[in-house]
Assembly symmetry: C2
Homo-oligomer: 79 residues x 2
């Protein structure tokens, strides 16, 4: 499945759910996303639960989506 565009409080956000067989592998993915976030200085919302991580990218400053968010989404897919 692809990234969906969600609108929350008038802010467009790129969102995707990634599935895993347990909690540990979900948390490991959260950490891999955290690494690219720190490397790029651009940080998502990461909802980690048993078996899944929901990643949400948006640009706080412009309260919406910037080209960089799509780049980060593509990088997230490659993790």
């Amino acid at each position: 499945p692809d990234w969906s565009i969600e609108v929350r409080d008038g802010v467009m956000q790129l969102e995707k759910r990634f599935e895993f067989p347990d909690f540990a592998q979900a948390l490991a993915f959260t950490n891999r996303v955290g690494e690219i976030a720190e490397a790029e200085g651009h940080h998502p919302k990461l909802v980690t639960e048993w078996g899944q991580v929901i990643v949400t990218w948006w640009s706080h400053k412009i309260r919406g989506l910037h080209r960089n968010d799509f780049i980060m989404a593509a990088k997230t897919d490659q993790l």
Copy 2:
């Protein structure tokens, strides 16, 4: 601040927001919560963002709060 009780889809959940000065320290806390979750075999929802982590405990099986959730909340406060 204390834990609040939220009701989502009829399920009571214990929730608390923890603040941090940046993303890395928020993610480090997420990992510490993940460690006690794995140790106890009871897993929360962890929403990690720049500067904060929202931790939510509930018992999936009973679709509500069990004594164990309050114990995990207390352990989370000690991290």
